[in-house]
Symmetry: none
Subunit: 135 residues, 2 copies
DNA sequence: CATACTGTCATAGCACACTATGACAGTTGT
DNA sequence: ACAACTGTCATAGTGTGCTATGACAGTATG
């Protein structure tokens, strides 16, 4: 599990950690049941404060991505979102809309956007067989 | 020139403006010599403070993307060349991948993702007829 | 010249990201 | 039990993103 921080991006460090952990799970690098690095060593590794890592983990637990217990550590949860379908759809729509705005600025046609999405979905599926995104 | 802000993303608003203006230039929507919206009207439009827009423009000028003169306005510098297709594709792929990771965590199937993308593309097209995203 | 636009600067206040540090509580291994 | 690990909570200080507002200067238009 490698985490790369970009201090100039403007995106809060704790959110960068959240994103990268979620991406690692999404990509199969981290699997359900596996443990995350403990807070203090990771903070030292990344040369940031303990609280920043703790905040990232708290956010991940809040999102239902990990489970954490004082004294034991933090572990990847079996991914089962507590959200209802409509809520999940709205959440995903946000990310999709961001991509569409980007596509607009970069002058892609809807057909090209769809093709690219198909492409990326395919690449993702190939790298991570057997997860929730399979057909 | 359409700018869409996401207040929950954690990315500072002024940087979102910078990014989207640069993307618009990259795609050729904004051409050298053209003027940007003036600070006050744009701020009112986006319902943010004048200073936030001013900061975005200052950053753009600092990066050499635009030229700005008190009393006249802000203008795209002529040293800009639209990115090539492959570069634009990579930029878009980043946003698409972010949405796909999100979709994984929200347990959507690829088919559902594609359907949602089609949906949002349609909604966007309906709201903004005649723009670069039309087929 | 006067008015209405443009960008710029200064100040003040609020929220939050991050740091720093200390203290406490649960778990594990010896 | 003890030591060494785990996460958690509290407090305080710094920096900065954003808002709000007022004042000023350059430019264009009449």
């Amino acid at each position: 599990m490698l985490i790369q921080l970009n201090f100039k991006s403007g995106l809060p460090v704790y959110l960068q950690i959240v994103e990268q952990v979620k991406a690692a799970i999404a990509s199969g690098i981290l699997r359900p049941g596996e443990s995350l690095p403990s807070i203090r060593p990771l903070a030292e590794d990344l040369r940031i404060n303990r609280n920043t890592v703790a905040k990232a983990y708290a956010e991940l637990e809040n999102q239902g991505v990990i489970e954490t217990a004082a004294g034991k550590g933090s572990f990847i949860k079996d991914s089962q979102t507590p959200y209802r379908k409509e809520v999940r759809r709205q959440l995903l729509a946000g990310a999709v809309d961001a991509a569409i705005v980007q596509a607009y600025h970069l002058q892609f046609t809807p057909a090209e956007v769809l093709e690219l999405v198909r492409d990326r979905l395919g690449a993702f599926e190939q790298k991570n067989p057997g997860h929730a995104l399979k057909n």
